[in-house]
């Protein structure tokens, strides 16, 4: 057991029961650390349920700014008797477990390599608060007070946060303050504070915010000028449309006329949601739908329609654990293949892969531009970890000179000038035809159909005419390779080994790389940000001898996509996968690579 102080480098995990108001207590704790200038990362593991099932919240306090899961727990707050045994087991040696000592603890459940701290939270709250609801809620606030004493949190910061949260609810403010003090004083009186794990005020969160990916993506939709949103509620994407609605109420409603410059339609199902998005896109509006895996399955027929008829659409897939219903409140990156080739027939779709909420904002805006430029559905693939957890991100910046790229949409004047408009004619060789919007000009009329059509937009069953159109679509795919965001590449000179990863694996892989570098193993890095893959991905594959492909699904879908789409020897792509539903942690990546290196040495 190490007695060395670990300032700003530890993980707190809080085990609780959902529906008891623990979320606000956990958010208070996280924000307090953030305001002390310490980088933090919060992960919520919640059940697909409203009340009564186990829920955990994990906060990594990371002075170094590593926002991935560490894979270890240093301080456990065990508030749920049902999961106590499991929670006790997962504390790292040398760690601490805090439990509610109101009720006797099962003495058989013990560990000698950690310190167990009992605080009679329920008893204190029952004695102090009169209503049943307050007794339950305040128990959670009280453990924040206990942690404040044990970890030496700045009480002024906590008080300021409470004042902001309950500015308009005086009675709640008092109760919360009392609960904090109660926990704080009890810990001070009974234990030697602080623990070797301490929060020390630093200055590393200036010009940063705490934001979840769904909120950031919704902001992207607002800023890109999206006006039509259609959706069917599904975990974990629901909060994206909730956030969009909130932003629209704030920024898109005219107080004078009472009119709303947006239209949100709660569809009857995902089939209708994507149909609405395509209808709106066809008729000139920037439209989107947020969904998750099961929604993508339902949308597949229309996604193929959008591809073949060339209608812009933006789909957010906040991925969750599959297959089937899977685990709706757990994370995964297991829809990569399903999205890349969604729908029957020869179809392929443009995908974007944000790695964090900051990228959710910028890539959402890019998604609308790409969808209109390429005239095709674009899917933004995030996951539950990015979408629903609070991440520390640099302040969002907006380029005031930005204007939406509407692509090759012909204006009334342009239509007036041309002799005749043909919807699917490749006029300038990039595979992207010109487009007209309904109602703009008599010459712009055309017939949109998912059945066979020729380059003039007419129905066809002619072998050559049909093939000309699908071949031209392939030409457009080549153009897409040059328009989508390039992969993020960090080439280390002379490194023959590299990491190739995607989306929310980013932070875990980066941290593992640092640890490997400290051990003398230099690695290059590439994170794909879009599909189709660009030339830079091919170059990276060519230049490295051994490439660890890190992703969060069982079947190595990113690796499969690379093998299908790029020129690469499959023996050099070593798969590192994490797919149990929890966000990937840096330790598992580090260990997997070390194991592989050890095997290489042994051979």
């Amino acid at each position: 057991m190490s007695s060395k102080a670990r300032d700003n480098d530890f993980t707190i995990k809080i085990a609780n029961v959902n529906g008891t108001g623990s979320a606000s207590a956990n958010s208070l704790l996280m924000k307090a650390l953030f305001r002390m200038g310490i980088p933090v990362s919060g992960k919520n593991y919640f059940p697909s349920n409203i009340q009564g099932l186990p829920t955990w919240y994990e906060i990594r306090v990371t002075g170094e700014g590593h926002v991935a899961r560490s894979g270890r727990v240093d301080v456990m707050v065990a508030m749920n008797a049902e999961t106590y045994r499991k929670d006790l087991e997962c504390v790292a040696p040398g760690g601490y477990l805090i439990y509610d000592s109101t009720w006797p603890r099962n003495q058989l459940l013990n560990r000698s390599d950690i310190t167990i701290i009992g605080v009679p939270l329920a008893r204190m709250c029952n004695e102090h608060f009169s209503t049943a609801r307050a007794r339950i809620l305040m128990k959670n606030v009280a453990y924040v007070g206990v942690l404040a004493a044990l970890l030496e949190l700045d009480m002024e910061v906590i008080k300021a946060l409470l004042n902001e949260s309950f500015a308009s609810k005086k009675n709640l403010l008092e109760g919360n303050q009392q609960a904090i003090d109660m926990g704080f004083n009890y810990a001070r009186e009974h234990f030697s504070c602080p623990l070797p794990f301490r929060a020390r005020t630093i200055d590393k969160t200036r010009d940063h915010i705490l934001i979840d990916g769904n909120t950031a993506a919704a902001l992207g939709c607002l800023y890109a000028g999206a006006t039509v949103g259609a959706w069917y509620p599904i975990t974990p994407s629901t909060s994206l449309m909730d956030a969009f609605k909130g932003f629209c109420k704030r920024f898109r409603e005219d107080p004078e006329t009472g009119k709303s410059n947006y239209c949100i339609i709660q569809a009857e199902d995902e089939l209708a949601a994507i149909g609405m998005v395509l209808g709106a896109g066809w008729n000139g509006a920037r439209a989107f739908t947020p969904t998750s895996g099961p929604g993508i399955s339902l949308m597949s027929e229309f996604l193929g329609y959008g591809y073949f008829t060339e209608i812009p659409a933006v789909v957010f897939n906040v991925q969750r654990c599959g297959p089937s219903t899977g685990m709706p409140t757990r994370t995964q990156q297991a829809d990569i293949m399903a999205c890349a080739y969604a729908s029957h027939g020869d179809t392929r779709h443009v995908l974007l892969f944000p790695a964090n909420p900051e990228e959710c904002f910028y890539l959402s805006v890019a998604a609308f531009d790409l969808a209109e430029r390429l005239q095709t559905p674009v899917m933004v693939l995030t996951d539950l970890d990015i979408g629903m957890n609070d991440w520390m991100c640099p302040d969002l910046k907006w380029d005031e000179s930005y204007r939406p790229d509407r692509g090759k949409v012909l204006s009334a004047e342009e239509l007036e000038e041309i002799p005749k408009f043909y919807r699917y004619l490749d006029v300038d060789g990039d595979g992207i035809p010109q487009r007209s919007l309904p109602g703009v000009h008599p010459k712009g009329a055309f017939f949109t159909r998912g059945s066979g059509h020729n380059m003039y937009g007419a129905y066809t069953e002619d072998a050559n005419e049909y093939q000309q159109v699908v071949d031209r679509l392939l030409g457009k795919w080549e153009t897409a390779k040059k328009l989508v965001p390039a992969a993020e590449v960090e080439t280390v000179e002379k490194a023959r080994t590299g990491f190739l990863t995607i989306g929310s694996c980013d932070a875990a892989v980066r941290e593992a790389r640092e640890r490997l570098a400290a051990d003398g193993v230099a690695t290059s890095y590439l994170r794909v940000k879009a599909f189709p893959f660009g030339e830079e991905v091919q170059k990276f594959l060519d230049e490295h001898e051994r490439i660890y492909v890190v992703e969060q699904n069982r079947d190595a879908q990113l690796r499969s996509l690379l093998l299908l789409e790029m020129r690469v020897d499959q023996a050099k792509l070593v798969s590192v996968r994490h797919y149990n539903g929890l966000p990937i942690d840096s330790g598992s990546v580090f260990d997997a690579v070390n194991q592989d290196l050890a095997r290489g040495k042994a051979a």
Partner: protein, 351 residues
């Protein structure tokens, strides 16, 4: 189908509408349906209706799903925007298109399979939203493109071509829409253009979801002895309850109406239709009465036609969503993006 393409030359004496166009300007591609198909008559009636309403062709959006009926938007108004979507999903596309720009006129053409089976869910929800569109069901009780299976509108006992009798009860779109709170319910027959054209015009003028269920016999698979959707059977059991006369805004009501039988209805845009009632006691603004009237006559084996129910006051999707008059699809970007100052305000709460 016929194989002779009509020459694109209009007779100089053809009547012209307010835009100076003739009905031939509202024609489409050559129909590929079977000769004598009821759908082609409906196509003709739609052309006549949009011509008489002087709708600029490029301001008309015609949408459909999959099936024989859904092919027909290609056969009228070539100068309009067409959207032949996937099977049963036209209502969702129309919903999104309407959200983006509600200034266009929307005609959806569907069939009994496309609407009452695969598309029943979307159809119901378009009714529920009171989406501003004309929705025509070309109802023949049979799947034509897949060669003769019963559809969900086939009557019990109606016989297929090979003699098999249908056993499952039909879904009646008019009764269904009445029950779901629809704001415009009409039924007609492809063989009665006199009745159909004014109904189509009223449906296009109606602000909200206008359903017209048109019995449209399938000459190839459902026009035989024993079928209840044949031309012969429909003519024999046809019961017009109401005729709708559409009155253009500029014209006065000149026709003589028998007292108690005429009922003027003011449309949302100020135009008027006059309903001529065969049964003076019938009130097409009373939902419960309309429902029970249809039920009683159905029990007697009669096919009640006409504008069966109308409610001009029900708010449509746009009114409920409080969208502005300016279409969302063309709205200036400055009205949509709150800029860096908006971000700064929001980020203040994220620290």
């Amino acid at each position: 189908m016929s194989f002779i393409v009509k020459p694109k030359v209009a007779h100089p004496k053809l009547p012209r509408n307010e835009l100076g166009l003739t009905v031939r300007d509202y024609e489409g591609g050559m129909s590929t349906l079977c000769a004598g198909c009821g759908h082609d008559s409906i196509t003709g009636a739609i052309m006549q209706a949009v011509f008489e309403l002087s709708i600029p062709p490029h301001r008309l959006a015609k949408l459909s799903g999959i099936g024989c009926s859904s092919k027909t938007p290609a056969y009228f108004a070539s100068a309009s925007h067409g959207f032949n979507s996937v099977h049963g999903r036209m209502p969702s596309v129309a919903t999104g298109a309407n959200a983006a720009n509600g200034e266009l006129h929307f005609i959806g053409v569907s069939g009994d399979g496309d609407t009452l089976s695969i598309g029943f869910g979307q159809f119901s929800h378009a009714v529920r939203r009171n989406l501003n569109m004309l929705y025509v069901i070309e109802n023949n009780g049979v799947y034509g493109l897949t060669k003769g299976q019963f559809s969900a509108s086939a009557d019990v006992g109606s016989k297929a071509k090979k003699g098999e009798a249908n056993q499952q009860p039909p879904i009646d779109p008019c009764l269904t829409v009445l029950a779901m709170g629809g704001s415009f319910v009409a039924r007609s027959f492809s063989g009665d253009k006199e009745q159909l054209v004014p109904l189509l015009k009223a449906g296009l003028k109606h602000r909200g979801f206008a359903l017209i269920d048109v019995i449209s016999p399938c000459v190839t698979f459902n026009d035989h002895e024993g079928s209840t959707k044949s031309y012969q059977f429909t003519r024999q059991h046809y019961h017009p309850a109401i005729y709708a006369d559409f009155v253009p805004p500029s014209a006065e009501i000149r026709a003589e109406y028998e007292a108690g039988k005429a009922m003027p209805v003011k449309m949302h845009d100020g135009t008027e239709i006059v309903l001529r009632k065969v049964d003076p006691g019938y009130d097409p603004t009373d939902r419960a009465a309309a429902y029970s009237y249809l039920h009683q006559h159905q029990a007697k084996g009669e096919i009640v036609t006409g504008l069966l129910y109308i409610d001009e006051q029900k708010p449509d999707m746009h009114e409920l969503a409080k969208t502005p008059d300016e279409p969302l699809g063309v709205m200036d970007f400055s009205k949509l993006c709150p800029g860096q100052s908006g971000l700064d305000k929001l980020m203040g709460r994220m620290r």
